[in-house]
Every structure is written in structure tokens, then in C-alpha cells.
Amino acid sequence: MTSSTPLIGVSIPMLKIKELINHVAQTCLNILITGETGVGKEVVAQSLHAESNRSKNNFIKINCAALPETLLESELYGYEKGAFTGAHKKRPGKFLTADKGVLFLDEIGDMPLALQSKMLHVLQSGEFSPLGSDQDFKTDAWVIAATNQCLEEKIKNKTFREDLFYRLNIIKIDIPPLRQRPEDIPALVEYYFKKYLSEYPKSNAVKPDSQIMERLCSYHWPGNVRQLQNCIKKLMVLNSWDKVFEELPIDADTPETSASDISQAQLAGSAMHSPDYPFDSEAGKRRMRIISEFVDMSTSSEKLFEDISLKKIKKLASDKVEKEVIIFVLEKVGWNRSKAAKILKVSYKTLLYKMSEFNVNPPVS
């Protein structure tokens, strides 16, 4: 991701995050950014840096999950010449290069416990010493940490220090997953379409029409903004939205439902690809499309199962069809309601009641 990626979004939670950034960027208090993978935690951190009075200084990122413990330690704090085998010359750590700037600690939830206590010490005292050095250095790095894990849970399991958590969590910015804010999707599509079109000027990709946009907005994006971004990049090469959609994991496959599907399949002693679970076939897709008209499929399976009730769905489905039939007949008879009631074989009163329930009104001429 380039450093200039703007924070895109028009949904209420995203507007609130932008407002929060605007209010706290000057304070340089420790910030914890949480959210699923791909929601844009680093983009939020960069926006904080850009809006702070440290924007001219460094934004240094380190991924705590990507490096083994000893390497992470030497990356953070640096080392003196001869500190360990292979330390041929002195090397400054990220705490030093981020001085007066921002130190972005990505995947803080994966930081080993030993390093957590060292980190806590630096945050408390503002001092650190490089490996192999007996000298303390002052650092004025603004620490912004991010994680997709539930740190409260990790505290309970004793894999994350509670005192470090509270010290990082002075301000918390929680970014909701993309499926909870589909109104952000058109702006994101627009942005990445333009961006990748300029990178692939020979591409024949066309902007999504309203139908494609609707499909994009109703997809649940388990990989969030990063997945959407990759899709549009793919479009530049494939030049076909249909092919892009073909390659998307299908709608029903939210992390929660897939886990329960597997356990159910195991309970039933059947293989995952048994015909009882045709989620990856055309029929499965059709089924999910129909169900999603009446049930919000983007929620967790627990909530989903609470929402599903045949009685409720029967009512929703019959209402939907009844409304269309009533409009169809009324249009045929020039909105003569007594004629329509006769054709529909219901009483005049029932028809009037249904028209008001479904909010069916004659066209204003």
C-alpha cells in the first residue's frame, strides 16, 4: 500500500473515524487500531500521521508477526557493533528512526511476551537501550498499534500483558468490516478503478454498471477492502466482471458459517463436498441468492439461525409476491380497485388493506 492512500468512506462509522482522527491526531496519545484483516488499519494510522504535527517526520512500520522474536527485538531497538555474532556494525532500531515521528506496530497481538514487557518499559519511560549497549536513549516516537485479534481474550489467556494493553489503548479506533458498511463500496470501487486503470492503461476494463455495483455491494467481502482492491486489479487483466465474480469465494462462505458447515459435515460423517452441501455449485449460489432476499446473510451464523424462521420467511416471501401481483392487476384494470378485487378473488376491503400495508399507490398523473 502506498503512503498516500486516502481513507475512503461515506458510511456513518467511517465518517466518525475520520472525525475522531481529526480530533486526536494532534494529541500524539498512544492509539490502538482494531479490525478484521484488510479493513484499512494501516491507512488509518497513516491518516493519523498525516494530520498530526509529525507529518514531516518518519512513519515507520514494523510487523510484529512477520519476524522471529530475536530479530524483532533487534529491529525495534537496534544493536551495537559486536552485540551478537554477525553484528558487524552498529544499526539503529525503529524506535530511533521513528523519533519525533510515528512507530506503527502492526499485529501487536503476535508480539512475544518477553518483548511485550520490554515495550511496556519503553512506553513508560520513553527510554530504551540497543542490544549490546549499556547506554539509554530517549525516544519520542508516537506509538500506534494495530491488531485483528481480540486482545481482551489474549489477556484472559495470559498471552498479552494487561498493563501493555491499557497503555496502548488510550485511544481506540475500531474499523468495522466492509460487509457492515456496503455504502462505502461504490466510492472504494471508483477510487481503485481509477488507480489501477492508470497503472494498466491498456486495459479494456469497464466501470461497473448499476447491476454489477449492486452485486459488489451485496457481496460479504471476507477479505474486506484489500479483497475488493485485488478484485479490481484482477479486472484490469481479465477485462470481465463476470470472470471476477466467478473467482470470488461464494456468498455463503463467511468464516462463521464455513466453520459450522464443516463441523456439521463432520458430525454427519460426510465429506465436505457431499451433495448435501452444494455451496460451490450453481444451485447453491441460486439458493443463497433467493434466501438472501429475505434473510440478512451477512451476520454470524448464530444470529442468522436466530433470524431464520419459516413463519417469518413465509410472510416476507408471500408479501413480496402479493405486492407485485396486486400492482400488476391494478395496472391492467386502470387502477379500478373493485375490478381488481374481483380478479384477485378477495374482498374490496381486503384489497384496500393490503394496498395500504404494502404502500401501493396509484401513479400520480
Binding site: 475522531l20 480530533h23 494529541t27 494487561e162 498493563d163 491499557y166 497503555r167 488510550i170 485511544i171
Partner: protein
């Protein structure tokens, strides 16, 4: 009390918030409330020289009480700050570090807090 002291009370538990509101209001304080640190900060930025005392919970969504106290101490140093915590020692210690005037542990005795508020606000008016 003669001159109504103006309080900003912040807690993400609306029951606690309304209890505090009723209590201080009935004693003649002018009370504003906010459900989290960000809402409180927006109120403060709107009325920078208005409040005499901030009473805040510590563990809250978006801006924590510790964050709020740090900002207040830097930007509005005349406002007295009282931190309330129900989450063990860590947030309380951080609030002291952020130079909260008083840190108290939940459950709180409203009369005791009122006493402290009167003391703190009295000091400013001296």
C-alpha cells in the same frame, strides 16, 4: 451552593450517567453528560472555558478516560479532573500518571465524590 459549578460527567454506562446527573443536579450543580471520551471532547472543544470539573470513567470506547484526562490537562489545564475506575489498578495508575486530580475506585460513594468536587472547585475559585 452559591455559584453553580459546571460539571462534565462521562461514562459509557447510561444508568450510572443518569444517576450522577440526577444527584449533582439536585445539589444545584450544572451538569452536562457524555457517553464516551469522544463525545466529551467535542463538548469541551465547543465550550473551552465553560466547565470547572470533569468526572470520567476510564475504560470506554474510542477515547478512554485516561486519554480524555491527558487532553484536558494539556489543553484545558484549569479544569479539575476526577477519574473513576472499576477495572483493577492499571487504568487508575495511568490516570494518575496523566495527572488526574483524584482517582477513585468503583463502586463510588456519591456523597464522597460531591465532597471532593466541592473541594476541588472551591480551590479554583479561591
Amino acid at each position: 451552593m452559591a455559584n453553580a459549578a459546571r460539571l462534565l460527567i462521562v461514562d459509557d454506562n447510561e444508568d450510572i450517567l443518569s444517576t450522577f446527573y440526577e444527584f449533582f443536579n439536585s445539589l444545584g450543580y450544572e451538569v452536562k453528560t457524555a457517553v464516551d471520551g469522544f463525545a466529551a471532547l467535542k463538548i469541551l472543544r465547543n465550550k473551552p472555558d465553560y466547565f470547572h470539573c470533569l468526572i470520567t470513567d476510564l475504560v470506554m470506547p474510542n477515547i478512554s478516560g485516561v486519554g480524555l484526562i491527558s487532553i484536558v490537562k494539556k489543553e484545558y489545564p484549569d479544569i479539575k479532573t476526577i477519574a473513576m475506575t472499576g477495572y483493577g489498578g492499571h487504568p487508575g495508575a495511568l490516570a494518575s500518571e496523566a495527572r488526574a486530580d483524584i482517582v477513585i475506585f468503583k463502586p463510588v460513594d456519591l456523597f464522597k465524590i460531591e465532597h471532593k468536587v466541592a473541594e476541588l472547585v472551591g480551590r479554583t475559585e479561591d
